[in-house]
């Protein structure tokens, strides 16, 4: 096969992980929500309601695209795209399976993969800010201010929590990080200390912090203050209709998938699972199994996202900011110092 064909196959595979799961997860979210609340949920379109995302898509596309009279037309239409692109871009460096032959199951293998994902995530906030501002609506503006302030506040703790795993693996290459955790049992996962028992507390704390910060980064409950309907109508996408609203909603799921993929890769062993995957086996079947393990991990984490959404009440905004700046930031700094001391002492 020519290199371009291989690259194309890898890109299609990577996109399928994200673009396939994203829309499908909207129905999972609604069914799980209904199940938690003791309702039935959408079950009319197709078997078990599984074609509901398709029906939603048709509905979104067939509605009229309305741009408010006083809105800034260019930025208003640019907003959803600026939110949509970064998660897809970031997923390029997530390894979604073991090697097949000599090829990593990863769209682009960068030596600075972790930094790349972080910098891409940090640009995702522009779409929300510009979209909310361009709507020329006070509620949309307030919603976008809240969303962006929350995201840049939690980005600090998120970055520091990612740094914990990077320090344990001493690499920024996501492939290297995953391979170090593969094939050596659960103890080698970075969440359980990356093979050193003395690092176990740092790993657990780092993963916990990262998970909560990821909830806040994705504007998910209990941190979805940017769109709490009781105060702000609908948040930064109040004025959006038709497919541009659909793109906003879809990008929320895409960035959830990116976050879960990143957490899985750097803390939970990526595509590896003791007893199921064999890192030295580079056959096609083993590659598919490792891919299935990776997707199972991502989907389980997203299930926890939904579970949390329908279990915990929403925070107040001052509580959110206090938590981010006064609890998580010091905790992650202490965690880094602790891990550095352990690393220097070499225990």
């Amino acid at each position: 096969m020519t290199p371009w064909l291989i690259f194309g196959a890898k890109a299609v595979g990577g996109l399928a992980c994200q673009m396939g799961v994203g829309p499908a997860f909207t129905i999972v979210e609604r069914r799980v929500a209904a199940w938690i609340q003791g309702r039935v949920g959408p079950n009319r379109v197709g078997p078990l309601g599984l074609f509901q995302p398709l029906a939603d898509l048709v509905k979104f596309i067939s509605k009229e695209q309305i741009v408010p009279a006083d809105a800034d037309r260019v930025l208003f239409l640019l907003g959803p795209l600026l939110v949509f692109a970064p998660p897809i871009f970031g997923f390029c460096v997530i390894p979604y399976g073991n090697m097949i032959g000599d090829e990593h199951l990863q769209i682009a293998n960068l030596p600075i993969g972790v930094l790349f994902v972080m910098s891409v995530i940090s640009t995702g906030v522009y779409g929300m800010m510009l979209g909310g501002w361009a709507s020329n609506n006070k509620y949309a503006l307030l919603g976008s201010l809240r969303a962006s302030a929350q995201i840049i506040s939690y980005e600090l703790s998120l970055g520091l929590a990612i740094l914990i795993a990077v320090m344990m693996s001493s690499s920024l290459d996501l492939n290297v990080i995953v391979e170090q955790q593969a094939g050596k049992g659960f103890g080698a996962w970075n969440v359980f200390g990356g093979g050193h028992l003395s690092q176990l507390p740092s790993g657990l704390l780092g993963f916990g912090l990262m998970f909560i910060c990821a909830l806040a980064e994705n504007n998910r409950l209990p941190f979805d203050l940017s769109e709490c309907e009781a105060e702000l109508v609908g948040g930064y996408h109040t004025e959006y209709s038709s497919m541009s609203l659909g793109v906003f909603m879809l990008s929320e799921y895409l960035s959830m998938i990116l976050m879960c993929g990143l957490m899985t890769s750097i803390y939970l062993g990526g595509w590896s699972f003791p007893g199921i995957t064999d890192p030295s086996d580079h056959s096609i079947l083993a590659g598919l199994i490792s891919w299935a393990v990776f997707m199972t991990k991502i989907l389980s984490m997203m299930f926890v996202y939904v579970w949390i959404r329908w279990t915990l009440p929403r925070f107040k905004y001052n509580q959110l900011m206090d938590l981010g700046w006064k609890a998580f930031l010091p905790a992650s700094l202490v965690n880094i110092a602790l891990l550095a001391v352990i690393g220097v002492m070499g225990v």
Binding site: D72, L75, L110, P111, I112, L115, F116, M118, S119, V120, S122, T123, V125, Y126, M129, L130, G132, W133, L141, S144, L145, S148, A149, I152, E155, L172
Partner: protein, 168 residues
């Protein structure tokens, strides 16, 4: 020098920088500045500095420019609050001044024979995280720590300015 990717990215960088300066609407100026920063990152990637490129995006577009946009959105100026449009004389003077400054910087670079000679072979790990880290923390360890001290002092300054009652 005739690399087409470099040519395109540098043209985009210069064009968006000019647009950022000349836009009247501050939000559009910020958007052009965003494009300018991103094209810088691409140029850095081409110069075998991937670490610098990632940090550039992380710090400049992910943090600094977000704060700019934040302030612009909070002020949310109307058209009549933006002040008088500058006359042609001001534009001409500003352009002449910036072109002169550019010439002043470009002239010694172009005149120096050392800089027009072909570059020496770069070490294999040039621009990687390890190489940058070694230079920062080993070779220039003391200056690096002094700079971080400076940043801490600046942070305290910001806190003192922001707090209304310091000991409350």
């Amino acid at each position: 020098m005739t690399d087409p990717v470099f040519l395109i990215t540098s043209l985009v960088a210069v064009g968006s920088a000019v647009a950022a300066v000349t836009r009247r609407n501050p939000v559009y100026a910020a958007v052009w500045l965003l494009i300018c920063f991103l094209s810088f990152a691409v140029i850095l990637l081409q110069m075998a500095a991937p670490f610098l490129a990632a940090i550039h995006v992380l710090v400049y577009t992910g943090a600094i420019l977000v704060l700019f946009v934040f302030v612009i959105m909070l002020l949310n100026l109307k058209d009549d609050e933006l002040g008088e449009e500058y006359g042609t004389g001001v534009w001409a003077a500003a352009s002449a001044l910036s072109l002169g400054l550019f010439g002043l910087m470009a002239w010694p670079i172009l005149a120096d024979p050392k800089l027009s000679a072909p570059l020496p072979e770069l070490p294999a790990d040039f621009g990687s995280v390890e190489a940058v880290g070694r230079v920062l923390f080993v070779e220039y360890g003391l200056p690096f720590e002094l700079v971080s001290l400076l940043i801490v002092v600046a942070m305290f300054g910001a806190m003192v300015l922001a707090k209304k009652r310091l000991w409350a």
